[in-house]
Structures are given as structure tokens and as C-alpha cells.
């Protein structure tokens, strides 16, 4: 936890209400999100019990497994879920734009993409497990399942994987997103309770947030009291209606909280880089939709050696870019870096817009800016700098001495004898410079999977679907 977040948490506790830790919203919010609140049978890893879902807050769909120990009923439930989720996902594939690529063929990118919103990280994990247990099923052979079930599994797997992808908004966990924008006065573990976190943000802590009779758990686990006293008798009675109504009482409060959480997030202006990250999400979604349309295989059970390294490289790049973008988009996030000496803000007190280095043909324009700052500048001379005010600009720290920092601008000031107007900040302007820059080196190539070297076990075996897949346990 950073110093600023610790301070915000202390202040939240002191003032009895959550404190903002972001001034803008760092995730994309869909105009038509698919809110998905799944419940699991307690004691089982991936046995679905019920789910409330839908893209209309006034018309949630409630899907229930009346006897969760019955495999056939579970798959029937999965087919029902597919009946809601797949048309939603497919509704985004029709409208596309053609994107030109440098050094590549143009491709089609969806204009909008689906967004799955679950209550918490447990919801993401359950989505992943549901995907894992359904994507290798088949409509023929032993234990056949409805045709839509394996396809559902692939999409659920995709959504769960995107949840782990830094900066992606295709899958949101409500508690995580709220926690990225507000600091409550409770522990990180307690922030996993959606009712409690929403209460901290809206009106301050309420004891009833932890009362399962008022606010049932947001899933996927259910309240043990409810399990023993309500659910078990309902299931034993054999009445599907009774089970459904019992589960409705557990899901409806969370359903309202989920939309409240989305409203809270919608109250913030989106950060400047959110659209750019959503564009990547749309491209990723289109690639996945294309793979499905072309009849590609389901995602493998495990990443092979090469696939794992490739995914790690993509995720590390995305993580680094996300951290930089968040700081550039949001002065409150940048403040964290100012505290650790990786950024500084202050007023411009002097500029030399026509400063140059070298003579004749090798003369290079290097405008100088002197900034007066109260921040502790812990960057050594020569550090490459960027600035949120002028994102195309690159600079270098020349010296920092007694609150005066000299910055040399090396990029994004035009090619003239003196800096182009507006590219060098004016005296009196408030600016921020940071060693966080979005200049990332591309990562070097990886061997083809068939050329996996001996150090990593040699080429992997090809996946061939067989009847064994159907023998796997569902839970």
C-alpha cells in the first residue's frame, strides 16, 4: 500500500466515509454491460447453483439449478446461461471498422464490445472454473451436452483471462474497480465485501453490511446459515419454484448493489487513456470472435512453454503501459510518484527555447526549462522524462538543486531554430515531469511452439479432442 493510499484510508476511517484515490475513472464502462452474479454450491469448487444476470437493471434473469448435485441439471443450466450470454456477445460482432496496420494486413475491429461485470474476484475465479469445466465438452460422444455449452465455456474462459489482463475493461470485478477509485477505512480483505465497500463510499460504514440477513454475500459462496436453514430444505422438498424463490432473496440485493457500483463509477469522468485501452479490448474481442467463427480449438488447459512466455510478455507490457497511463491521466495517481521522488510538479521559472547543442549540421535544438518545485526530486541527472501536459514530448533531467530543476527537452519541440510555439511551457505555467515514460522496447521474438528447445521440454504434443475430455469431473 502506498503512502498516499494509507493516508486516504486513515482519513476515511477518521471521517467515516471513503476517500477518493482517483480523480478520473480508469476503466471503460459499457453502455450495455452484462452484470453477472453467479452462486456456487458450497463445498464444491465449480458446481453452479444459480446466477442472476442481464444487461437491463430492471429485468434481471434468474437461472437456477434446482438440484445442484445433478449433472444433467447443471448442464441444462449452462445451456440456459449460454442462451442469455451468447446472443449478448454475438450482438457486438456485426458492426466493425477496418483498421489499417503498419506492416500488416488490415483487420476488422468491432465498434463496441461486450463487458462482463461480476461482483468480486471470487466471481472472476468462478467464471474461469465454469469456463474450464464446459469448454472441452462436446455435443456428441459420451455425456453429450447441449451444443451451446462448449461455446459458452470458451467465452467464459476468455472473459476470465481478460480480467487478469492489466488495463482491460472487458471483465470488471466491482469491488476491484471501486477499490481502485476509493479508499475505505477498512482492510483490503473487508473491501472484498461489495455491500460494505459500497456503504463506505456512499454513506459511511454500516454494521448491517455484514449481516447476511440484510445483505447476503455477493457470491460465489453463499451464507452458511442460508444454506442450512433455507436452501437445504428447499432442495429436499423437490420444488424448483421454492429453490428459485429462496435464491432470489440471496441474489436480488447484490443485483441492486452491482448497478449502484456501476453508477458510482459512471459518476467519474473517464481518463484520457481509457478509450485507447478499450480500443485494444475491442481488437482482442474481435480476434476471439474470429477464432470462434473459424472453428478454432478451445483454449488449451495450460499454456505451453512458448505460449506462456508470449502471454507473460504481453501482460508485462500492458501492466507497464497501464501504470504510466494511469499516472498521466490522473494527478492523484501521479502524486504517488511525486512522493516517491519519481515525479515532480512545480512552476516554470525560466525557459531557454532556443538552447542548442552541437554546431553546424549536428546542431540539435535542446530547449531548457527550469522548474521550481517543493517535491523531493530523487532522480539522477540524465534521467529520461515525460510530462502529462505534453504527451508527445520527451526530456532529460539536467540537474536538480535546492528545489530548482533544469529539464532539457529532447523530443516533440519541432525542427526549427527555436522551439515551436506551445511546445515549451511558459514561465509561470504549472507542469509535472516524471521518469515514467511510455517508451517501451518491443520484446524480441519467441520460437514457434514446434521449435520449443530442449531446455523447455522440446516441442509439445498437439491437442486432439477425444472422449477422455468428457470423463472429467464437472466440479
Amino acid at each position: 500500500m502506498s503512502l498516499l493510499t494509507s493516508l486516504a484510508r486513515l482519513r476515511a476511517l477518521d471521517e467515516g466515509i471513503a476517500q477518493p484515490v482517483a480523480t478520473v475513472r480508469h476503466c471503460h464502462l459499457s453502455a450495455r454491460p452484462m452484470v453477472f452474479v453467479p452462486l456456487r454450491l458450497s463445498g464444491e469448487a465449480a458446481a453452479p447453483l444459480a446466477a442472476m444476470l442481464g444487461d437491463d437493471r430492471d429485468r434481471p434473469r434468474l437461472l437456477v439449478v434446482p438440484q445442484p448435485r445433478n449433472r444433467d441439471l447443471r448442464f441444462a443450466w449452462a445451456a440456459e446461461l449460454a442462451g442469455v450470454l451468447l446472443p449478448y456477445v454475438e450482438s457486438f460482432t456485426a458492426d466493425t471498422e477496418t483498421v489499417e496496420r503498419r506492416g500488416g494486413d488490415p483487420y476488422e475491429r468491432a465498434l463496441d464490445a461486450p463487458q462482463l461485470v461480476v461482483p468480486n474476484t471470487g466471481g472472476v475465479a468462478f467464471t474461469r472454473l465454469l469456463g474450464r469445466s464446459t469448454r472441452f465438452r462436446r455435443a456428441d460422444g459420451p455425456y453429450p451436452v447441449p451444443e451451446s455449452v462448449p461455446l459458452l465455456g470458451r467465452w467464459l474462459t476468455y472473459f476470465a483471462e481478460r480480467a487478469a489482463y492489466p488495463g482491460s475493461s472487458l471483465t470488471l470485478a466491482a469491488t476491484e474497480e471501486l477499490g481502485r477509485h476509493w479508499a475505505s477505512g477498512q482492510s483490503g480483505l473487508e473491501d472484498g465485501n461489495l455491500a460494505s465497500l459500497v456503504a463506505w463510499i456512499t454513506e459511511g460504514p454500516r454494521e448491517e453490511a455484514e449481516d447476511p440477513l440484510v445483505w447476503p454475500p455477493a457470491g460465489p459462496a453463499t451464507d452458511p446459515g442460508f444454506d442450512a436453514e433455507v436452501l437445504a430444505p428447499a432442495i429436499d422438498s423437490g420444488s424448483a419454484e421454492r429453490v428459485t424463490e429462496a435464491l432470489r432473496t440471496q441474489l436480488a440485493p447484490t443485483w441492486r448493489l452491482m448497478w449502484q457500483a456501476l453508477d458510482l463509477l459512471a459518476g467519474l469522468e473517464p481518463g484520457a487513456s481509457v478509450a485507447q485501452r478499450w480500443e485494444q479490448d475491442r481488437a482482442s474481442f474481435s480476434a476471439m470472435a474470429e477464432s470462434v467463427a473459424e472453428g478454432g480449438p478451445p483454449q488449451p488447459r495450460r499454456d505451453g512453454a512458448v505460449a506462456a512466455a508470449a502471454r507473460l510478455a504481453r501482460m508485462e507490457r500492458a501492466q507497464a503501459a497501464y501504470e504510466v497511463q494511469r499516472a498521466y491521466d490522473d494527478p492523484l495517481v501521479m502524486a504517488e510518484y511525486r512522493l516517491t521522488g519519481e515525479a515532480f510538479a512545480g512552476e516554470v521559472v525560466e525557459t531557454v527555447p532556443d538552447n542548442a547543442e552541437g554546431e553546424g549540421r549536428s546542431r540539435k535544438l535542446r530547449p531548457l526549462v527550469v522548474i521550481k518545485t517543493d517535491d523531493p526530486v530523487l532522480l539522477p541527472p540524465g534521467t529520461a522524462l515525460g510530462t502529462p501536459e505534453r504527451r508527445a514530448q520527451g526530456g532529460e533531467l539536467v540537474e536538480a538543486h535546492e528545489g530548482l530543476v533544469t529539464v532539457k527537452i529532447t523530443k516533440g519541440m519541432g525542427r526549427g531554430k527555436t522551439a515551436a510555439p506551445g511546445t515549451v511551457p511558459d514561465v509561470g505555467e504549472r507542469v509535472c515531469y516524471t521518469s515514467l515514460t511510455g517508451d517501451f522496447q518491443g520484446s524480441p521474438g519467441l520460437p514457434d511452439a514446434e521449435a520449443t528447445p530442449w531446455t523447455h521440454g522440446g516441442p509439445p504434443q498437439q491437442y486432439v479432442p477425444d472422449d477422455e475430455d468428457a470423463q472429467e469431473e464437472w466440479s
Partner: protein
């Protein structure tokens, strides 16, 4: 204690002389596709790399060497040229790299960004990151230095470049890390976040693993402590006897806690300057000042170190200050130390050697002990950089903090258990330090 009596004495027997180990390694090279050599701190790893390089180059077959940082590459180039001036060395680098003057003076060395620019040298050497951009050529031999600090995904990118390889490294130092969560791959034999050696050995369990048995760096006061805490099953001994390393402070002390800590360190090789218990921010001002004052007093009092290499003054460039976090390093640098003193994080002190180290304990002033702070490699690096003495600065209460935070990382299926356990290693070092404790005044 987890020390298993069945694994035998951590003191290697006389049959394992360093010479014998090196001879065994060289003999194993043509017999196996890969050979691994574990080297505890200062056990002559670079000497081994240089000898193996000369040995392989003598066969007339070209050799590639992989190191992890530009400094490591430059160090190796200088050492190879020093010992074997007849060898030609090509140093591959990225475009932005400026070779240090010590490299340009060497006759047999060529620096270039492409293999074609290097002529046809006996040895081509570069960082793993640079090698990953090289393709279309296969070397019969490779030496991978600091292989335990190399992530296995880096090895995956370059393993196609060589037929056979010698992997050398220190298993007790910091594991490679990532800024993203890698749970998804834990348990896989090719987990990209594991070290190159772990992945190599999981796929090729029959490869021979040798161990260098003697630390030439660590003094007799430190080798048993470090060996017991961080290498419980594969111990090593110091190359020098108890009286072969001495450190004296030329001028008398003022009796302050800082001076007494330095005296204790000069006498026994260790000192713990204990500040009053307090929970602090990471850049604990008081601890930072204590570290800076220790360094300043050490220089003022003119320490002289005597060893098998003769007597020499402990000058600023022979002193290092280590901390866990970059902001701590920045704060210590800003406290006004002479620029010749190295101040850096554990990650960047790996592989370096100094006469005296001053360490800000990773757990000092903390409220919690996270996996990051408990990682045994972090403390191991910080506690094993010195030839003479190590002074640790810490707030009181670390033992209690450790007791309140036993390692609680989830156990993952298929992940080999890692020894030593960071929690236990921390306790072991702390217990030893408590015998060399000097309390700072209550303030």
C-alpha cells in the same frame, strides 16, 4: 529447524577442493548437453567462467557467453582478456550502449551491435536481452552466467542459439520476478517466472550439478552464518581462516552507538545497530540518517583492512550500502554520502563485492512481513557482499514481527518446495546479529 540430518554435514569434505570441482566440471562438459554449477557468494564463479571459456575456446569451436547485465558482461570481458590475452572477444551490445573506457583499451575486443560487425572472434558475449534479438546462427557452446537470476522465458528465447551449455549461478540469491501475477503458470515445468536453471533441471533431471565449495569473499566470521541460514543443505566454507582477515579503525571512537557498532563490526565481522522500536514509512528518516552516519564515521575513522591480499585502507569505493527498495536507496543517496560509496538495492548489488557493507534491514520499521520482504535471497544478497564486515541497521521488534507473520503463501501444486524458507533464514540471521547488537539511544 528443517535441517535434515540425513543430508549430511553442510561442511564439504576435503575431497571437494575447488580445483577438483572445476576439473570435474570441465570433464563433464563434452559428456552432457548441459552442466550446472551452483556457486555460493564469492566462490570463484567468475574464475570458473573464465577458465571454462578458455577451455572451450581452446577446442577451436566458437563460444557464446550470456550474462544478465551490461556490467556483468563488461566484467567478464575484462577478466577473460586479462587472463587469456590471446583470445579474441566480440562484445555484442544494444545501440544505446556506450562501452566503458576499460573495455576500449583491450586489444582483442571488438564491440558491435550485430554479429557480422564482430569479425570472427573466439568468444561472443552479450546480455541475455541482447542475445534474444540474434538469430540465424547456432553456436556449439554457450556459457550462461548468473543463470539463477535469469528468468526461464529469457532462456526460451535464446536456447535455440546453442547446442550445449554450461549454466553457472548462485541459487541463494534473488529469484527473478515480474510485475504481473504469474499464478496462472505456477506448477508448470516451464513456468516463465521460474529461473532458467529450475526449468532446465525440471526438463532435464539427469544433468550433472556441481557445487563450488569455498567462498573466497566471505570471511570466516560470515561464511558459517550465511551458509547455515541460506544454504542449509549445500553448505560451503570460507577460503580464509579466522585470523586471516582483520579490520582496524585507525582513530579512536567517541563512544557513540554508531562508533561502538563500527568497533563491534571491526572486531567480529558483524554489528546490528538497533534503533528504538517504531512503525515507520519505508524511507524511515532516522534509519536513513543512521546509515549515512555509519558510512561517514567509517571513512572518518580510517578503517584499514588486512587480508591475504595485503593491507589496504577501506576507501569509499570499497564500501556499499544496501536496502530493499529503490525509494530507500534514493533517500540514502540524498543523505549526503560521498559519491564513491555504492548505494543500491539488493537486486543491483548481486554479484558485487566490497570490504564493508552497511545494510538497512528489509524488515526495519515495518508493520507486516510480506513475501517480498521475507524472500531469503534479498537478505542473502545483502548479508554476503562483504570481505570484512557487515553492519546492519534495523529498528527493534523484527523478531516479534516475524513471529506475527509466519510465511502464509498458498501452497501450489507441482511447485518444488523452496529452501531455505525466507522466514526461517531471517530468524537465523537475526539471531546471529543479536549477539552483535548495539542499541542506539532512545530518542
Amino acid at each position: 529447524m528443517t535441517a535434515d540430518p540425513g543430508t549430511g554435514s553442510p561442511e564439504p569434505g576435503p575431497e571437494h577442493s575447488p580445483e577438483q570441482v572445476i576439473a570435474d566440471v570441465l570433464a563433464d562438459l563434452p559428456r552432457h548437453r548441459g552442466v550446472v554449477v551452483d556457486s555460493p557468494p564469492g566462490a570463484g564463479k567468475s574464475t570458473l567462467v573464465v577458465r571454462a571459456a578458455a577451455h572451450l575456446a581452446a577446442t577451436g569451436e566458437p563460444l557464446m557467453i550470456v550474462a544478465q547485465t551490461n556490467e556483468q558482461v563488461d566484467d567478464l570481458v575484462v577478466r577473460i582478456c586479462d587472463k587469456h590475452p590471446h583470445l579474441t572477444v566480440g562484445r555484442l551490445s544494444a545501440g544505446a550502449y556506450a562501452p566503458p573506457p576499460r573495455l576500449l583499451e583491450l586489444a582483442g575486443v571488438r564491440v558491435g551491435t550485430r554479429v557480422q560487425d564482430l569479425g570472427d572472434p573466439d568468444i561472443v558475449i552479450a546480455t541475455a536481452d541482447k542475445w534474444a534479438w540474434i538469430g540465424d546462427r547456432k553456436w556449439p557452446w554457450a556459457i550462461v552466467d548468473e543463470a539463477y537470476q535469469m528468468r526461464s522465458d529469457k532462456l526460451l528465447r535464446i536456447a535455440g542459439l546453442f547446442e550445449r551449455a554450461l549454466f553457472v549461478g548462485d541459487p541463494g540469491q534473488l529469484d527473478p520476478f515480474s510485475i504481473v501475477d504469474g499464478d496462472r503458470w505456477s506448477g508448470l515445468s516451464w513456468d516463465p517466472l521460474q529461473s532458467a536453471v529450475s526449468v532446465l533441471l525440471r526438463h532435464n533431471p539427469d544433468l550433472p550439478v556441481h557445487r563450488l565449495p569455498v567462498s573466497w569473499r566471505l570471511p570466516a566470521t560470515a561464511a558459517p552464518v550465511v551458509s547455515r541460514a541460506f544454504y542449509p543443505f549445500t553448505g560451503f566454507r570460507s577460503g580464509t581462516g579466522p585470523d586471516e582477515r582483520r579490520m582496524e579503525l585507525v582513530t579512536g571512537g567517541l563512544g557513540t552507538p554508531h562508533d561502538r557498532a563500527l568497533e563491534e563490526a571491526a572486531r567480529s565481522g558483524w554489528a546490528l545497530l538497533e534503533l528504538p522500536e517504531r512503525h515507520t514509512v519505508r524511507t524511515d528518516g532516522e534509519a536513513v540518517r543512521a546509515v549515512a552516519l555509519l558510512a561517514e564515521r567509517l571513512l572518518q575513522r580510517g578503517a584499514v583492512a588486512g587480508s591475504e591480499q595485503g593491507e589496504r585502507p577501506v576507501t569509499a569505493d570499497r564500501i556499499a550500502v544496501g536496502a530493499a527498495h529503490r525509494d530507500q536507496v534514493a533517500a540514502i543517496r540524498a543523505a549526503g554520502l560521498p559519491p564513491e560509496i555504492t548505494v543500491d538495492t539488493a537486486n543491483r548489488l548481486q554479484g558485487r563485492e566490497y570490504d564493508v557493507t552497511i545494510v538497512l534491514h528489509p524488515l526495519s520499521g515495518r508493520r507486516d512481513a510480506t513475501a517480498f520482504h521475507l524472500e531469503s535471497g534479498r537478505l542473502c544478497v545483502l548479508a554476503s557482499r562483504h570481505r570484512h564486515a557487515c553492519v546492519v541497521v534495523a529498528r527493534a521488534g523484527i523478531a516479534e514481527l516475524l513471529d506475527a507473520h509466519p510465511s502464509a503463501e498458498p501452497v501450489q501444486l507441482g511447485v518444488p518446495v523452496k529452501f531455505p524458507d525466507g522466514w526461517e533464514a531471517n530468524q537465523a540471521v537475526l539471531e546471529h546479529l543479536s549477539r552483535h547488537r548495539v542499541r542506539a539511544d532512545r530518542g
